[in-house]
Subunit: 208 residues, 2 copies
Amino acid sequence: MKNLFDNISTKNKEKILKNLEANTLHFKKNNKILSTFKNENFIGIIIEGWIQIIKIDYNGNRTIIEDLEENGVFGTMISSFSNQEYDIITKDDTKIIMLDYDRIININNNNTYYNQFLKNLLEIVINITNERNKRIEILTKKTIRNKLLEYFNVVTKNNHSKIIYLTSTLTDLSDYLAIDRCAMMRELKYLKEEGFIEIKNKKITLLY
Amino acid sequence: MKNLFDNISTKNKEKILKNLEANTLHFKKNNKILSTFKNENFIGIIIEGWIQIIKIDYNGNRTIIEDLEENGVFGTMISSFSNQEYDIITKDDTKIIMLDYDRIININNNNTYYNQFLKNLLEIVINITNERNKRIEILTKKTIRNKLLEYFNVVTKNNHSKIIYLTSTLTDLSDYLAIDRCAMMRELKYLKEEGFIEIKNKKITLLY
DNA sequence: TTTTAATTGTTGCAATTGCAACAATATAAT
DNA sequence: ATTATATTGTTGCAATTGCAACAATTAAAA
């Protein structure tokens, strides 16, 4: 995964952070964090650790919007959690650099390294857009079966393999696909019975 | 809408275009364009005109992925139409600047104006991500009614008004929401009958 | 102006889905 | 090791949805 400070020396990285008045924040595992930042226009970078950005529906349904580890980038605009209904939860001890988005845009700093920084950020955001596009491609499929097949498609296109290792739980997958978990389990069963797939723990093998 | 060359003089704009070996292309209305670019990593900017990026399903269903006018930015990564199933159609006489994405990233040009260019592009891509996030928010709603209400929500939040003017057709809306058009019409009728909305031509008034 | 094409509007019906209410495993915490 | 919690797995049933097959209206083209 692209790192925001790729091709930037440690020295210049420090300069950028100072220039942007970056804050480095530390959090313990399993905490609701950054709630005071919700109304600000920030970009956060995970230096180490693991966070999830979670939305709680008015029905109490919890959905994972982002699941980010080291080098993960998130923020108001990027993650679209400007309204109050979102929580950022640490799933591990986590160190985050917080940047002020408006400062990134408005600052005048035409050094090569700041240029590189902008290019890196651009690449990261473009990759995020790409991820969003893939999810939309999946979500626009009308049946559960087609959503699953499109999901398999997207994953295998990335990995060039007919074997998919779920990084998360099936419950999370049903969240991602925006379908009822039980209905998804049923459809997976049908796909198994019809010989399209095999499932063993978190390993899904495509047989087509 | 943000312009890619905001805060850049015409002179410097020309320099950037030359430096990036940009191509300015002209197309007539109602043409399938840029099919030869499909395998390249480009970013296109619409200088004038109107295009739509359209996906044709294996079932023959056509979906509008992007509907772009002046200043619109699109491209391989951003629009995720790297595979062959997409068409770019001019809906009017159109002038497009084509940029090589890899060149944008790899070129070494740390002038103030190139810096500004990168910031503008970054802002544009972030806005696009934001649009994608909104659509995902809508698509993850489980019933047609909730999709419609979330759509109304998103639009009225932008416009600060209880009146929505559809810029396109209802058929296109059902595409955007990824629901069957007839089922959507039925739900709109129910919403009307229950006094939640009023529809007159392309004007939807929210009564709640 | 007339014809053609596109969009809107309607509805029965079958298929799909979400929901509820479980049992069975597996994982994590004490 | 035992308890508690989370995840997986299953199924009946009612609600929602997509589909098909139309008519009516509106917009565009000849």
